[in-house]
Amino acid sequence: MSGFARPLKIALGLAVIAALIIVPMNFNRYGLFILSQWAVMSIAAMGLNLTLGYAGQVSLAQGAFVGIGAYAAAIMTTHGWPLPAAILVAIVLSFAIGWVLGYPALRVQHHYLAFVTLAFSTLAFLVFRNESWLTGGIYGISNIPRPHIFGLATNKPLPFYYVCLGSLAIVSLAVWWLIRSPWGRAFMALRENPLRAQSLGIDTRRYTLMAFAIGSALGGVAGALYAPLTQYIDPVPFNLSLSLDLLLMVIVGGAGFYFGPFLGAMIAVLLPEWLRFTEGYYLMLYAVAVMLLLIWSPTGILGILDRYLAERRTKAASALRAVAKSRLETVQ
């Protein structure tokens, strides 16, 4: 996303943040629900973008971690625990399970790894459905309370939207810090050239496990917000199709781009609403749009922008060189 002048970028960022705070004040209950869902899915997709986009480890299990976080939050908050404590437990739990799920990635890669994570996804779904003593089985868990933040009730849609938005802001800052730290560089090295990375002292095993664990932990955070958002959970939303949806969000937005997940989640959550007038054709239109996009730009929507900016830079550079050359010739 370089290529824009810095002040312009900051102004644009502030405008978007202001809009996200102010505009929804007039939204109805449904609009706020959709927007909250966008914030929650952005968090989950950002986690997958770390694992897949930056560190290059394919995972079809992100939906399962959203489920783990959601169940952790649902079980704890219906037993009287505050939501922040539940979020903490969701983070620790999905971090630990994500770490363990990372071990197969030390041996297998790409589609083989996809299959391993797919198996895990199915396993998690079966646990949610069959372990009724804990998860309520197919009847799920209802009456999930929304939290009081600093003594303020967030039962109403608008305050809870701000909870989701605030969480998204915190996660965004943390991820931004992470990807520009040496860790982010090591993740990228892991994706681009693991052999070279090793020869530079990068402990690829540890970073691979970390990429899985941190990405999964963000899935857990998203889940812990999803439960109080819908206030009722059952196993169905956390089956494989959620993992595939999240994968699609990351890829459509642009894997390995910081803003990819925001954009991808927006398309995946809002597009169905905009295409509602097409009635039954929505999924078909969506599928065709995704196929066309990926044929045109395999690196997603932000990949198009990136290419355009790179082209402009190259043109500017060669124009500068041409000017410099003609000056030299004049001097001679």
């Binding site: 992470l178 520009r180 730290s181 040496p182 860790w183 560089r185 090591a186 990228m188 090295a189 681009e192 050239n193 052999l195 070279r196 090793q198 020869s199 530079l200 002292g201 990068i202 402990d203 690829t204 540890r206």
Partner: protein, 247 residues
């Protein structure tokens, strides 16, 4: 002079093929050892065994007298063994400076400090010095993928020195580099060898380059050491002429 690297009877077989078949040698502190031999003689396999990218079938590798056989590449790198690659292995999307920072960052602090500390791991200054040393100043902020082949070779070499290595294994540093760039590269390698007291092992097919750069040359053929000695001795060795140099 003490030996930085001691290799004793190292062997590596792939099925029935003995790619490296009982190679022993040592590398003295501060020297530049050349490693030559026909294609398929086991030079690269030997390198990979020393660097931990392959586990040797038998034998020992010692670094400063400490047994390091079977350590992983990242662990060996932390102990001061660095390498360059035969084929270009820079990170094309990162700038020249970022490539160098990446090459040094794991030698700074620990996992925690690399997460919460400075994003350049305190290496911008060192990277800039390295950029100056390898004369890449005008390219510091360019993505490495946009550099010419020779410039990428220079960067690849520079990356090997970011961690302050004891021992650097260079795999065909001169391959595909044009003559004027080659003179530059050689001059830089000699300078860094003297200034940093780093020890080199160089695989190379360019005889002129090897003979003028190295203090000793080891010749391999069919997985074994054929000859070892000063460049002028090796050049006259009949077995070497027969197997590799030609008449």
């Amino acid at each position: 002079m003490s030996a930085v690297l001691e290799v004793t009877d190292i062997r590596k077989s792939f099925g029935g093929i003995h790619a490296v078949n009982g190679v022993s040698f040592d590398v003295r502190e501060g020297e530049i050892l050349g490693l030559i031999g026909p294609n398929g003689c086991g030079k690269s396999t030997l390198f990979n065994c020393i660097l931990g990218q392959l586990t040797p079938t038998g034998g020992e590798v010692k670094l400063d007298g400490k047994l390091v056989t079977g350590l992983r590449p990242a662990e060996l790198n932390k102990l001061g063994v660095s390498r360059t690659f035969q084929l270009l292995q820079v990170f094309p999307k990162l700038s020249v400076r970022e490539n160098l920072i990446l090459a040094g960052q794991e030698h700074q602090g620990n996992m925690a400090s690399r997460l919460v500390g400075r994003s350049d791991a305190g290496l911008t200054e060192t990277a800039n010095q390295m950029i100056g040393f390898f004369k890449l100043d005008h390219l510091a902020d360019e993505p490495a993928g946009g550099l010419s082949y020779g410039q990428q070779k220079l960067l690849d070499a520079a990356m090997a020195f970011m961690g302050g290595p004891r021992l650097v294994l260079l795999d065909e540093p001169a391959g595909g580099v044009n003559p004027s760039m080659l003179a530059d590269l050689k001059e830089r390698l000699v300078a860094i060898n003297r200034e940093k007291n780093a020890t080199f092992v160089v695989i190379e097919h360019n005889m002129e380059f090897v003979m003028s750069l190295c203090s000793r040359v080891m010749v391999m053929a069919e997985g074994k050491v054929l000859a070892m000695g000063r460049p002028d001795e090796v050049r006259k060795n009949p077995a070497v002429i027969e197997a590799y140099l030609g008449h």
